[in-house]
Symmetry: C2
Subunit: 329 residues, 2 copies
């Protein structure tokens, strides 16, 4: 996807619905020319409100529909803005469940204006099955005790820290928000099951021996719904290093009130054991804890406890950054 982006929020009802667009602004502020909101929009990215004409004049290349709409559909009254962006020469990228090309007015406008449509939830290409052959270059994968515990954030923080230290590093996106942030990637959970690991081999190809891929993990080996995705991702990534991500206030697996969270050490060991199939030299290099729901007084002791238990540098990347994990790399 070409940049700069114009972030379209429609008229979503709350800030949470714009979480994807917010992630793009947080990590790629300089790719974002402005936001475009319809009357009644309750979300605000804290960047300039602009029109399609202003965006066109500034050379914006892609209109990004970075909202999660309840039900994933595209409201009819958003279509005019989207076709207007194409008339102004932009491509359109969407993270909605519905495919842009399945909306007739959008497909027709794309044809007429020669615009490209990116539906980042849906893989647009086929993959080979995984080979498991070691590729040159270094790879780090974030793994988790559960879904939504900070794997993408941690991967991006590691990329940033490595780059600031002058190291070669590339964030590799495996989910929709990550794909907007990277400008490319694979929605691994939407790939046909036979090709999970193959798609990740494609996503993180051979590279310079001193280049780090920071691969965004998905799900958890201990999530009854998504562990297959997590294992295929782990095998395809062939990680040299893994970072365990955790949200300490979570008492059950996301969406499954009967399923307890795994023990941290058991989770780490299971990931290392499975990873050895395609990289016998894999090692754990750190723990990333999302303490946003932990009281200020409690968080220091909590992180110290985990660090003592697992013997690994433990940080909240949002609070103290990931410098200590990069030191361990």
């Amino acid at each position: 996807m070409d940049r700069p982006y114009l972030l379209f929020l429609g008229d979503v009802a709350d800030q949470l619905a714009a979480k994807t667009a917010q992630g793009v602004v947080h990590w790629r502020r300089d790719w974002c020319f402005g936001q475009l909101r319809l009357p009644g929009c309750a979300a605000d990215l804290g960047i300039e409100d602009v029109t399609i004409d202003q965006a066109k004049a500034a050379g914006v290349r892609t209109l990004l529909v970075g909202v999660a709409n309840s039900g994933g559909f595209l409201p009819d009254h958003w279509v005019e803005t989207i076709t207007g962006a194409m008339a102004a020469g932009m491509d359109v990228a969407s993270g909605l469940h519905v495919r842009l090309e399945d909306v007739p007015a959008i497909a027709e406008a794309a044809q007429r204006h020669g615009s490209r449509l990116f539906d980042v939830r849906h893989p647009t290409r086929t993959f080979e099955t995984g080979k498991g052959i070691k590729r040159e270059g270094l790879r780090l994968l974030t793994v988790g005790t559960d879904c939504s515990v900070g794997k993408m954030y941690t991967s991006l923080a590691l990329e940033q820290e490595l780059k600031q230290r002058g190291r070669k590093a590339t964030f590799r996106a495996t989910g929709q928000t990550g794909i907007f942030i990277a400008g490319e990637g694979v929605s691994v959970d939407a790939v046909v099951a036979d090709f999970i690991s193959g798609s990740v081999e494609w996503l993180s190809p051979a590279n310079d021996p001193d280049h780090w891929d920071l691969i965004e993990g998905q799900g958890s080996l201990f999530h009854p719904a998504f562990a297959g995705v997590s294992l295929g991702l782990l095998h395809g990534a062939q990680p040299d290093a893994i970072v365990l991500c955790h949200e300490p206030t979570r008492t059950y697996m996301r969406g499954l009130k009967h399923q307890p969270l795994p023990d941290l050490r058991a989770c780490l060991e299971a990931n290392l054991e499975a990873a050895r199939l395609t990289n016998p030299d894999v090692r754990a290099v750190g723990v990333s804890v999302n303490t946003s729901l932990v009281g200020k007084d409690a968080r220091g002791a909590l992180i110290a406890d985990i660090e003592a238990e697992l013997g690994l540098p433990t940080v909240d990347p949002f609070v103290e950054g990931v410098g200590r994990i990069v030191d361990a790399l």
Copy 2:
């Protein structure tokens, strides 16, 4: 898929290409009215050659394209036979990679004659994500050291043995040959990654407390390409019992000359450990060894060695049957 079946072999070049149809004849002889072969066909299922008219008169309901064609496509000169079967009132089921509905003449004939088209490699419905909630009924899953080591054969042999003993048992198919044999099922490796375990929960729903589902495993937790499928299948199956399947002459994982086979005990333990996530009471009940490539003199000692090593009833289901494993159930 309704039965009886008429098995269409086209003009395939060797017996191996008709392996799927052979499996159907082996396990469901009474569902198979006959075979239909074009001039030059080199495969023979050992059942009567019949015409479409004879099949129609006998009440055949489904023409089954049970061959693996190199490349998976459908030769043009097979189309006339397939549309002829539809004109005679039959549905058509295919295990080819190409979808029947993507062949215009076939799609058009299906429309005209009101025939149903089954592409068993491609799931025709959507699934929910896995829930991991325990379902009533008993489940056995065959797991393997590798792909193609006898998981389907073992599952079917177990179903047969249980039924002969008057027990309630249902084979649950997860691959194309199995789906023809069961008349229904899910090609699990073709499901979108997010829904692997959910599709298996759907495939083996709650049942009588004394009813056994015999679920066909796929791949191996130790295959770098397909372990994600195997793990999702394991979690969705929630097995009470697993049977480990093995082919002792295999020296590397199917298709990957650099990847050694796992140790039997390590493979069994990894499957049990992962299965405990959705069924803490899972246990191993037997080992199924395909000794077809082992010399007659060597096979007895080989099976005895495995039995001694793992402490589980060990059989070649093709030679001595699975009675000892069912005893252990």
